[in-house]
């Protein structure tokens, strides 16, 4: 089967920002609220997540001001405890998940040559119910304390250990807002995961066998599979907590014989796969972006798929490494040490394959690529501190200290957020038809890099010096102040860099250079559509015969399809010699 990708020239927008089609804002609003188009829903996910990124980032800034010096009284302990709970919950559930699902929603149908997701209405429903979850969480600032007046945000921490969440220790409704908003967003998450799996399984264009599926949809498939397994226990635990709080059950009610450890198991069997649910899409972006800017095919495609699926499976058996200090016993701890260390093998394979992709390439240092390279470097460090934490005795010291906070921010910011910025610079032209400013992009990159390393490199140190997390203030004689000063100053630099990025997105939307369909000379199907793509994506269904259909079109004398069959990757060489 030959590669066949008709480019929809007839519907390519001739000039972006064409004034003739200007609509009333009410019409525009109606269009967005009622849309079932995967691209519009994807962009709504992304916009919604960016809004909450700024909100939760602002919460982080307030905490950093409070912690800059010992015995500070910038915020009260009650406010501080609300801040870190809201910061964590927001970043995981209302920034991380929606932004990654947003990119997935936008890109997956385009990359597999489909016109939409498998279930467009479910897609819209999932977005709106997740969005409502976020609004409900923040409404707690008004209604958290119940009916009698001033409110307060949830203050039980993002993993909300029992029995601190019991009615007796957490009166009022703040914990209920937390519980219900996570329940709702969990429904949306499951819906989207279901949609992604169905789309990838059944909507691929002719010729796109699973072995030709681009790595981005492959990794979203693994992430969605993990979502099914992980979100269920979280939802179950939230329902049990509601039963405890309002209907007199005793699952987590230790005063009546319930178990606090049960909640930990429920939460972390969700919570650890969740880390991989968030990081696999970042890997997915790297798998698309690093090859294009190295001008080489991804090294070891089958190994990359196998490693991702391997990470997916192993990540389901590592949750109790969050519980090394709980007193599970030596045998249980030993098992979870082994499982956790084992996951470093497929993760290492990924890093090595990215390096091998760079090797021998012609590396183009665009803003997108610079963020991707920083991702690679920082993810390496995050992985290595992860190995330190997997060593249970070391974790008895490091667990719940600022070292852990530094470690997982290295994953969430250093790896995932950097890769998200890379994805923005890469796919923004596809979504809007305009390039982001490279000049502002470089400023954004270097400022954010400096801020990131000031904050999160130095955050490891107070952990080593015995500073536990989630304290609103600390003693002056512990030797922690200088480190906290540096951490807080880095947070300010990151905030400035983020504002620069937001400015770049707004400015470029109106003034950026016109992108054209394929600004990066890339190889996957989304670049065969106009920028932005029409609502139906492809006028005719494309047909592909390799993993890189646009490479085949651009190099008809040397198509990919000649290379990719067989374990040795050398079929062609053998045929030639035969």
């Amino acid at each position: 089967m030959a590669t066949h990708i008709p480019f929809d020239q007839a519907h390519a927008p001739e000039e972006i920002g064409d004034k003739t089609q200007r609509k009333l804002w009410l019409e525009v609003l109606h269009e967005w609220v009622t849309t079932v188009d995967h691209k519009k829903i994807g962009m709504m996910y992304i916009g919604y997540a960016l809004f909450f990124l700024v909100v939760a980032g602002f919460e982080a800034l307030l905490m950093r001001i409070q912690l800059a010096v010992p015995n500070n009284s910038f915020v009260s302990p009650e406010v501080f405890n609300g801040l870190f709970t809201m910061h964590g919950t927001t970043m995981v559930f209302f920034v991380g998940m929606p932004i990654l699902f947003g990119f997935g929603n936008y890109l997956i149908p385009l990359m597999i040559g489909a016109r939409d997701m498998a279930f467009p209405r479910l897609n819209a429903f999932s977005f709106w119910i997740s969005a409502f979850g976020g609004i409900l969480l923040y409404y707690s600032y008004i209604g958290g304390s119940g009916l009698y007046g001033a409110g307060s945000a949830p203050d039980v921490g993002w993993f909300a250990y029992a029995p601190l969440t019991a009615k007796v220790f957490s009166p009022g409704h703040s914990t209920d807002y937390w519980t219900l908003s996570l329940l709702l967003t969990g429904i949306g998450t499951i819906g989207t995961a279901l949609n992604i799996v169905a789309t990838i399984i059944s909507m691929r264009c002719p010729g796109m066998k699973m072995s030709r599926l681009p790595l981005l949809p492959w990794l979203y498939l693994v992430t969605s599979g993990l979502t099914f397994v992980a979100v269920g226990p979280l939802t179950a635990a939230q329902i049990m907590l509601m039963l405890d709080r309002y209907l007199g059950s005793h699952f987590f009610d230790t005063q009546a014989g319930g178990s606090a450890v049960l909640w930990m198991h429920f939460f972390w069997i969700f919570g650890h796969p969740e880390v991989y649910i968030l990081v696999l899409p970042a890997f997915a972006f790297a798998n698309e972006i690093i090859p294009v800017f190295s001008r080489k095919a991804i090294f070891g495609y089958p190994a990359m798929v196998a490693a991702s699926v391997g990470i997916g499976f192993v990540s389901l058996s590592v949750w109790a490494h969050h519980m090394f200090t709980v007193g599970l016993g030596a045998a249980e701890n030993t098992f979870f040490v082994l499982a956790t260390m084992a996951i470093s093998v497929p993760t290492g394979i990924k890093i090595f394959n990215w390096l091998a992709t760079l090797w021998g390439g012609k590396i183009q240092f665009t803003s997108s690529m610079m963020f991707a390279i920083a991702f690679l470097f920082q993810f390496l460090i995050a992985g290595l501190t992860g190995i330190m934490l997997s060593v249970a005795p070391f974790d008895w010291q490091l667990g719940n200290s600022y070292f852990v906070v530094a470690h997982f921010h290295y994953v969430l910011v250093g790896a995932i957020l950097f890769m998200l910025f890379s994805a923005f610079y890469y796919w923004y032209p596809k979504m809007t038809g305009r390039m982001l400013s490279e000049k502002l992009g470089k400023w954004h990159f270097w400022l954010f890099l400096i801020g990131f390393h000031l904050t999160f490199d130095f955050m490891h140190v107070p952990g080593l010096l015995g500073m536990p997390r989630r304290i609103y203030t600390y003693e002056a004689d512990r030797g922690w102040m200088i480190w906290n000063m540096i951490i807080s100053s880095g947070a300010l630099v990151q905030a400035v860099a983020t504002l620069l990025f937001v400015y770049n997105m707004v400015w470029s939307y109106f003034k950026g250079p016109v992108a054209g369909p394929d600004p990066w000379d890339a190889w996957t199907l989304e670049w065969a559509t106009p920028s932005p793509p029409p609502s139906y994506n492809f006028a005719e269904t494309p047909e592909v015969s390799s993993r890189r259909p646009l490479w085949d079109l651009k190099h008809p004398d040397d198509p990919d399809s000649d290379y990719e069959i067989g374990p040795s990757h050398r079929r062609r060489a053998k045929e030639e010699s035969a």
Partner: protein, 337 residues
């Protein structure tokens, strides 16, 4: 000033000396902390070697294979390489070997720490965590105290570790004194144990390491490692009945006729409450408010007036005593040496 403090901190970590950092995990002063420290050196050197190797390769690749605009083949794509099973295999097998090595070293420390044989003359202390303070009970000695844990030092030739049997009266807490041992959680409805064996006399600091509510930050831990003589003297004093000094009889009356007695115990009096710390020998402690402030009459008076002066969110309510009664009850409690 900041900078010099920073460099001192770095130096302290590098040299792993006790230095000025009282809670540095790299300045171990007991067996569990020591074995973790040794293990962490192995882990740090392995991860450090991996870091240098991979980062070195990354930098080499970025410099060597950057796009060169002026080279003659600038408009051509580089050779496409799709993979190699031999290479994939090598960077699968070598990490597996490293993991096995680390796993075995880790397992050894887990078992030698968690399943260590308990010497029969080990001291047993029951630790009950409360929002936001620590209750210490010495069942074999008949002592109940709070927030300041006294243990004897352990001579490596005749180990005399202290075994802590731990649980919680309310929510989850965690006992962490970095220089003595790793942390262990205190969980309601569950009993955990850990052991410490400080070998040098002195004061070891720590604090609650599991978020437990509003005042999690000021749930501080003070472990006094005493010489045998110091410890014997401390035990003897704690075992004495509460001081009954007629000079502070007025303060005693205030205490016994207010809500104080519902939450606090003073041995030999009508005060038998168990919700708050045992005050039988509160005057002998160095600190109040769970290690937050020094125990002197001025601080004590401010604390009784309103605990939120030092610990907003503490469960003890402001006592609404007039100035005269405050002075009296402060004098009484200070007398309880």
């Amino acid at each position: 000033m900041f900078l010099s403090q920073g460099w001192r901190g770095i130096a302290a970590i590098m040299l792993s000396g006790p230095g000025a950092d009282p809670t540095n995990i790299f300045a171990p002063a007991g067996t569990p902390a020591h074995s973790i420290f040794s293990l962490s050196l192995l882990v740090l050197s392995v991860t450090g070697a991996i870091f240098l190797g991979v980062t070195g390769t990354l930098i080499y690749v970025l410099v060597r294979y950057r796009m060169r605009k002026n080279s003659p083949d600038a408009d051509q794509e580089p050779p496409q390489i799709y993979g190699s099973n031999q290479i994939e295999l090598s960077w699968t097998v070598i990490p597996i070997l490293i993991v096995v090595m680390l796993f075995l070293a880790t397992t050894r420390v887990i078992y030698t720490t968690e399943n260590a044989r308990r010497p029969k003359d080990a001291l047993n202390v029951t630790v009950v965590a409360h929002q936001f303070w620590w209750e210490y009970r010495y069942p074999s000695l008949g002592i109940v105290t709070a927030n300041e844990l006294h243990v004897p030092i352990s001579d490596p030739k005749h180990p005399m570790p202290t075994y802590l049997t731990m649980s919680s009266a309310d929510v989850d807490h965690s006992f962490w004194v970095p220089r003595l041992a790793g942390k262990t959680d205190l969980i309601p409805n569950k009993v955990n144990t850990m052991w410490i064996d400080p070998q040098q006399p002195g004061l070891y600091l720590g604090q609650c390491a599991q978020y437990c509510g509003v005042q999690h930050a000021k749930m501080l831990i003070r472990v006094y490692a005493d010489t045998p003589q110091q410890f014997a003297a401390w035990v003897a004093n704690q075992q004495r009945p509460a001081v009954d000094d007629t000079a502070v009889a007025e303060g005693r009356e205030v205490f016994m006729h207010n809500a104080c007695i519902s939450c606090h115990t003073i041995d030999g009096t009508v005060a038998t409450g168990r919700f708050g710390p045992n005050l039988t020998h509160v005057g002998s402690r160095d600190t109040i408010a769970s290690g937050s402030v020094a125990n002197n009459p001025a601080n004590l008076r401010r604390f009784i007036e309103d605990p939120a002066n030092f610990k907003p969110g503490a469960l003890m309510p402001p006592m609404h005593l007039d100035s005269h009664d405050l002075d009296a009850v402060t004098a009484y409690l200070t007398s309880l040496k």
